[in-house]
Amino acid sequence: MGSSEDRVVAVIMVGGPTKGTRFRPLSLNIPKPLFPLAGQPMVHHPIYACRRIPNLAQVYLIGFYEEREFALYVSAISNELRVPVRYLREDKPHGSAGGLYSFRDYIMEDSPSYIFLLNCDVCCSFPLPEMLDAHKGYGGMGTILVSKVSAESANQFGELVADPVTKELLHYTEKPETFVSELINCGVYVFTPNIFASIEDVFMQRRGKAELRRVTSFEALQSATKAIPADYVRLDQDILSPLAGKKEFYTYETLDFWEQIKTPGMSLKCSALYLHQFRYTSPHLLASEHSAKRATIIGDVYIHPSAKIHPTAKIGPNVSISANARIGAGVRLISCIILDDVEVLENAVVIHSIVGWKSSIGKWSRVQGEGDYNAKLGSTILGEFGFCRR
């Protein structure tokens, strides 16, 4: 099957500025993948999880942001992980499978036996080595990470049906109107290189149909489906769905946490999940009584080394404080993200909120969200330069 020399390449889809509009106002200043969760950029968490994959040769970030937005980050993380990380820019959106296909030459450069595909805005424990072992056992073209959710919320995602014994993917539907299954697609996959052949097949079929359409242009005008450009291939609808039940794709279920980071409110929840995970994976990152210069710390808290915290402040649980922030005397922070250069003055209170870069919170102010992460307006978000007076 596989020798211990099997190389692996990981690809992380990061999207682009036209996507992720629900993340505004925070994404107006910074690409969403670089927004900090638990003190690290969002994309850091899947990249860091890739470290555990044996024989990892390369990590690619694919998206359509400008290269310079990622240049600094990519060189820093390559040094830190001792694995080459590279950002590849799509000239236009190709869909998740189309994007993968268009960079197949780069991906296959190291002749990997396995290719991971992860979505940047997924928040989970990324059990990648376990997934790879399962994939090798199944012997299929791809293995999909899946999770069980409540029946009511399942239709927000791609729903799958899997064989309970063989774990084969039997059926796949994207955001169905009626209930299909509680198992959903987590947006993390591992493939063998013949995935590219399947994607190419889809291109061929599309071109064929396009030629047919030229013959009957009347039919083209009548087309009820959304006109999709020939080179836009979606992994879910165009690859997984048609190939379900053909012993090509399998599933691996995670019982750990899984969330999508679509809105700023969700970033608060996901930051808390990652902070909690640090207890097991990177406890040195969490603040303790000593590192925070005697301020009171409750629960999981991340404090950047350059941040200044007054000893009478009380921080936590679930708080992340970024570089150069200044937290004044008697301040109380609960379930919040404090971004770079923020100043929180004496006796202020911040609860369930995100305070944007360079904002200032006045003495005795209170900034409070309701704490309903799923509500569209459940958290208070102060964008850049927000100014809050008592």
Binding site: G330, N347, V349, K363, Q368
Partner: protein, 329 residues
């Protein structure tokens, strides 16, 4: 509140005060016992067994009010605060020789109240108009009267309204006069008006006895602090704050436009504005209490809780935030 009135009466030579009440006279009397000796003034109660309106209680207390001397007696509404210019009231009453003098105050929105229509130069009252639809005048009844004993002959011992039944009769006989109240006036029956009244009272105190107000780098505007209250470091108190006996305000607290009643404790870093904190209550660390929150006796607001206009009945604990004004039972 009532002590302000009793002290002002004592200052003009009143020797006996009758409290017309309909509920728990023991509570009032016990409280006032110590002031009877301190102020050297006699305090008695006249208790209604059924509600007698605004005039009936005077008939009930007739025996206390008529001592044979023929001297006039004061009648005060206890919900009202003002500067109590009783000396001027006595002078005016003697000068016009009428049967009754009422004090009136100028208001911006007279149609909310009963308006007293009077001759400007003499002060003679022509008539009363209740909640007038068109402008007839801007003076309303301030709830402070000086009456001759003969007025009692006009009042029967039954539910009677002094504004609707008694005064109009006296006005018709051209024996009723009105004097405009100088200085501030406030009916503090409603908590919101209590906070405004506090501000007016403190402003007046600043003019008359500024030494009674608190000073210091952590005081802003007019602040009254009882000598037995304790205030921590790093606080910012004021404007328009009154802190009662035995209160403890811990460090880092912000208070503005509020009253903290006897024995209450405000914990560190809390922030209170436009609210009333009841006797022996506690406001927790980092709590925020604002927008006409009223805490009854022995109410405890937990740490980090927010109250926006909560009205909390006594002996309650508030564990979760009150996001919009509501009554908590």
């Amino acid at each position: 509140m009532i002590l302000h009135q009793i002290e002002a009466l004592k200052d003009v030579g009143v020797t006996e005060v009758v409290l017309a009440i309909n509920y728990q006279p023991e509570v009032m009397l016990n409280f006032l016992k110590e002031f009877e000796t301190k102020l050297d003034i006699k305090i008695t109660c006249s208790q209604e067994t059924e509600p007698l309106g605004t005039a009936g209680p005077l008939a009930l207390a007739r025996d206390h009010l008529i001592d044979g001397s023929g001297e006039p007696f004061f009648v005060l509404n206890s919900d009202v605060i003002s500067e109590y210019p009783f000396e001027e009231l006595i002078q005016f009453h003697r000068s016009h020789g009428g049967e009754a003098t009422i004090m009136v105050t100028k208001v911006d929105e007279p149609s909310k109240y009963g308006v007293v229509v009077m001759e400007e130069e003499t002060g003679k009252v022509e008539r009363f108009v209740e909640k007038p639809k068109i402008f007839v005048g801007n003076k309303i009844n301030a709830g402070i009267y000086l009456l001759n004993p003969s007025v009692l002959d006009r009042i029967q011992l039954r539910p009677t309204s002094i504004e609707k039944e008694v005064f109009p009769q006296i006005a018709a006989d051209e024996k009723l006069f009105a004097m405009v109240l100088p200085g501030f006036w406030m009916d503090i029956g409603q908590p919101r008006d209590y906070i405004t009244g506090l501000r007016l009272y403190l402003t007046s105190l600043r003019k008359k006895s500024p030494s009674k107000l608190a000073t210091g780098s952590h005081m802003v505007g007019n602040v009254l602090v009882h000598e037995s209250a304790v205030i921590g470091e790093g606080c910012l108190i004021g404007p328009d704050v009154a802190i009662g006996p035995g209160c403890v305000v811990e460090s880092g607290v912000r208070l503005s436009r509020c009253t903290v009643m006897q024995g209450a404790r405000i914990k560190k870093h809390a922030c209170i504005s436009s609210s009333i904190i009841g006797w022996h209550s506690t406001v927790g660390q980092w709590a925020r209490v604002e927008n006409m929150t009223i805490l009854g006796e022995d109410v405890h607001v937990c740490d980090e809780v927010y109250s926006n206009g909560g009205v909390v009945l006594p002996h309650k604990e508030i564990k979760s935030s009150i996001l919009k004004p509501e009554i908590v039972m």
